[in-house]
């Protein structure tokens, strides 16, 4: 089945002729060669395929391609502005909020969505907001610190 699916991806228009029931994850990785979005579990349980759809965190392994019709999709490749990292990318790097790096793209995009929805979260709100993201290396403490630091830079609370 061929569908025509159009959306904006990392600021650029995309038009695809493909089956709209395919999952966004595989379309990104295979058709569009944006491999920063990772497969981790295929059931929406780990968060490593998280992307932004209209600013909200979405598990790309669970999202039909057709569901992003007409929407704005941002993957990890579209977060930096040229050579300038997004503040959360910078903070993850500076705080050592990553080890193997495999969960990192989904983690960062999850954090972007979290701070968009709540620019000044408490520590508890950060923990709850990131709870659905798995990291096996154990970078959690530093990831929370990175998110707190960005929130604080923007005038948020640092508690």
């Amino acid at each position: 089945m061929r569908d025509s699916v159009r959306f904006r991806l990392n600021g650029r228009p995309v038009s695809l002729q493909t089956d709209g029931t395919r999952k966004l994850l595989w379309v990104l990785r295979n058709d569009l060669e944006l491999t920063g979005t990772k497969y981790g579990c295929g059931e929406g349980l780990c968060g490593s395929c998280t992307v932004l759809v209209d600013g909200r965190a979405v598990r790309a392994c669970q999202a039909d391609l057709a569901s992003v019709q007409g929407r704005e999709v941002v993957t990890i490749e579209g977060l930096a502005r040229g050579d300038r990292l997004h503040p959360l990318q910078q903070a993850f790097h500076e705080h050592g909020g990553l080890q193997c790096g495999y969960c990192t793209p989904g983690m960062i995009l999850g954090a972007v969505a979290l701070l968009q929805a709540n620019p000044r979260p408490t520590r508890e709100q950060i923990v709850q907001g990131m709870e659905g993201h798995l990291c096996r290396c154990g970078a959690h403490q530093r990831i929370v610190a990175a998110i707190q630091a960005v929130s604080a830079q923007r005038g948020g609370r640092d508690d």
Binding site: R22, K23, W26, R29, N30, D31, E33, L34, T35, G36, T37, K38, Y39, G40, C41, G42, E43, L45, C46, S48, T75, I76, E77, L79, A80, L85, Q89, Q90, F92, H93, E94, G96, L98, Q99, C100, G101, Y102, C103, T104, P105, I108, I126, V127, Q128, M130, E131, H133, L134, C135, R136, C137, G138, A139, H140, Q141, R142, I143, V144
Partner: protein, 707 residues
């Protein structure tokens, strides 16, 4: 990794034209005890490690791989330090069998301990040679020269200088030295002992970092392999007609390895579900709970790894004896990146990209699978998305290579999470029985330790016990007592030590409690090992330890555990709350004191401690692979809970300095105490002994109910 992973070392040298080739006419002493233990040595030729290009760019070649543990950064620091260049002027190529020096595998916290010295020796040797060449160029004796940031200059006249790049320019120099280079001393360090940001950080936060499943080749196909429902199952009937009818799909069969191939993963995944396969599954002989009896009954004869005094005499001297059995289930590695490989087989040669901890041991495995010579197989290791010992085996790489050979096209094999749980080489189920004793004054008198299934790591007795014996049954794999385990088992972060410290440190704790002595005081009284005393005192101080006899049964508790792993001494204090109504355990704070000799990158070392503490909460509290015979009952993270953000305690790490000792292991030691320290804290909080891992809320609640 870097674009240099795409080309061979010879091509690399050719591409750069000149460069300094260095020959060292020295014995290999010091280059790699790890390698020697494997019957193979690290190369003595400096060129195997380092290449200095005309523009002064240095390339470091490492058979070790980067899987999150940070050795890309720490190895570069070591090379930069002893070569005398800035960190930023070194590029590193890792895990490419065509361009990197042979290595047994990245495990055992051995990179810094054993490969590190080889890198430092090579770098120091190269610095000596470059200084030698500069002495000729500048017409001064070598002793008049200094090296800094890739520049050799006359110490007394800085303007008389020549760069490494200039020394290398446009020529191919072979230089022989007969002198052993001296490594920089700790007080001279400018790159080591500091904490630069991870070199892999920028690529990993932008999505630019390539993992195996991210590599693309023209015409590549994605495989989904037909899998049995249980280990030990045999195929009775196979019908692939419906799968083959799907547009774009091919089914290949390489000596019983049956796979569906197509140009996109989803199509292959859909088609493989149309394959009809009937399997004969043998009746299960044992399962999740009955495995422990099996481990004891089927065990091979023990190895006695430690023996002193007389255990019978020890019984006589004991005012109280303790006979306790501890159990550890199968535990999965569960890296977030599942195993993946991409293979291209062309003109009698194979190139395989693989998520692996052991590219050089994959080479012969793949060669056997294809009927190739080892030298016709090249393994390239992109970034690895977590290993923990689980990427030491190479099944997926052999599968990809065989399918690529059958298909005549490049093939990617990327395991699903269910395949990951099925084919993981689990941390084995194990049972420990300890009989110990203490005299009326609180001195240890007896330690009779038996372990089945976990192996001996972490069993060494650093307490002063006059009468002791340690017996290790069956190693980790049963050693001939087949079938000891119903599926593959293998190394898992500090293999065996998690089981053994869980048992030993609870046993010690139980004796301290019975003797009415504070747990820290009891340990300090019963060991004279200076390094152990130093980490025990450090963790006591950093945690604000106040003497008290456990258990206090207030719902809040603190525990202590200590151990030795990979040459490193480590002690933990954990503070927990136990909900007596639900059995839920929350670990609120963990303080870890670690003495690991010279620390190459203190912040990197702390990251490893934090990772160990966090990962350790999983095997301590929830992780358990349930099974019936060869049938694995876990398939995804919904039934196999990993530690999450809300579980993570405040983690504080104290690195106890010891610059008199070469760098020791850092990737594993801090995980070995996690089972024991949490169990001891639960005991203090609730007065119950948790003898079976994981300490789930159901098990804690059951123990509270029994107490």
């Amino acid at each position: 990794m870097t674009d240099a992973t795409r080309i061979g070392r010879r091509d690399f040298v050719k591409a750069l034209g000149g460069g300094i080739l260095v020959l060292v006419s020295l014995p290999a002493a010091g280059l790699g005890r790890d390698a020697e233990a494997q019957g193979r040595a690290y190369p003595t030729d400096v060129n195997a490690y380092l290449h200095i290009a005309e523009d002064g760019t240095v390339t470091l070649h490492s058979g070790k791989i980067e899987m999150g543990q940070g050795v890309m950064t720490s190895l570069t620091q070591m090379a930069a330090e002893d070569l005398g260049v800035a960190l930023t002027s070194i590029r590193i190529v890792m895990g490419d069998t065509a361009s990197c020096p042979w290595d047994a595998g990245t495990w055992g916290s051995m990179t810094t301990r054993f490969f590190g010295p080889a890198v430092r020796a090579a770098a120091a040797q190269a610095r000596l040679i470059l200084t030698d060449l500069a002495a000729t160029r500048l017409g001064v004796p070598r002793t008049a020269l200094s090296v800094e940031n890739g520049v050799v200059f006359v110490t007394a006249a800085r303007s008389r200088r020549v760069t490494f790049g200039e020394l290398a320019r446009g020529q191919r120099i072979t230089h022989t030295v007969d002198e052993r280079a001296v490594l920089r001393a700790v007080r001279e360090f400018t790159v080591m002992g500091r904490s630069p940001k991870r070199l892999d950080g920028p690529e990993k936060v932008t999505g630019a970092a390539k993992y195996t499943a991210d590599v693309r080749l023209p015409g590549m196909l994605y495989a989904r392999i037909v899998r049995p429902p249980a280990h030990g199952a045999t195929l009775r009937r196979l019908d692939t007609a419906a799968a083959e009818a799907v547009a774009g799909v091919r089914v290949v069969n390489h000596d019983g390895l049956v796979a569906v191939l197509s140009p996109d993963w989803e199509t292959s995944d859909r088609a493989v579900r149309l394959v009809r396969a009937d399997w004969d599954v043998p009746a299960p002989a044992f399962g999740t709970e009955s495995v422990f009896d099996h481990l004891v009954q089927a065990a091979a004869d023990p190895r006695t790894t430690e023996s002193a005094g007389d255990v019978e005499a020890g019984r006589q001297q004991s005012a109280r004896t303790f006979d306790v059995t501890y159990r550890h289930p199968y535990v999965a590695h569960a890296p977030i990146e599942p195993h993946a490989a991409l293979a291209e087989v062309k003109d009698g040669k194979a190139t395989v990209w693989a998520s692996t901890q052991a590219p050089f041991s994959l080479q012969p495995q793949i060669a056997r699978g294809l009927g190739f010579r080892v030298e016709d197989v090249r393994v390239i290791t992109p970034y690895v998305g977590g290993g923990f010992g689980g990427k030491a085996a190479g099944q997926q790489a052999v599968e990809a290579a065989r399918l690529a050979q059958a298909a005549g096209r490049p093939v990617q094999v990327g395991w699903t999470r269910a395949e990951e749980f099925f084919y993981d080489t689990f941390d084995p189920a194990a049972l420990v029985r300890v009989v110990s004793g203490v005299d009326a004054s609180g001195r240890l008198t007896l330690w009779d330790y038996q372990v089945y299934g976990a192996g001996g790591r972490g069993t060494e007795v650093f307490y002063d016990v006059p009468n002791r014996r340690v017996r290790v049954y069956g190693g980790r794999s049963g050693e001939g007592a087949a079938p000891y385990h119903p599926f593959a088992v293998g190394p898992w972060r500090a293999p065996g030590a998690n089981t053994n410290r869980f048992a030993a440190e609870q046993q010690i704790d139980a004796m301290a409690s019975a003797a009415g002595v504070d747990p820290l005081e009891f340990r300090l009284r019963n060991t004279t090992d200076a390094r152990m005393l130093s980490v025990l005192r450090a963790v006591g101080q950093a945690s604000g330890w106040q003497p008290a006899v456990a258990p206090r049964r207030t719902g809040r508790g603190r525990g202590l555990a200590c151990g030795i792993d990979a040459g490193t001494y480590v002690a933990h204090v954990a503070e927990v709350t136990v909900d007596r109504a639900t059995g839920a355990v929350q670990v609120e704070r963990v303080v870890c004191a670690q003495e690991m000799g010279i620390v190459v990158n203190p912040d990197g070392a702390k990251m490893q401690v934090e990772g160990c503490v966090t990962m350790g909460l999983g095997y301590a509290l929830t992780e358990e692979v349930r099974f019936e015979g060869g049938r694995v009952l876990e398939a995804n993270f919904d039934t196999y809970p990993l530690p999450r953000f809300s579980w993570v305690p405040r983690i504080e790490t104290v690195l106890v300095p010891n610059d008199d000792l070469a760098p020791q292991g850092g990737g594993e030691p801090a995980i070995v105490n996690m089972g024991g320290v949490v169990a001891n804290a639960i005991f203090d909080a609730a007065g119950v002994r948790m003898l079976r891992l994981p300490m789930t809320r159901e098990r804690v609640l059951a123990e509270i109910g029994r107490g």
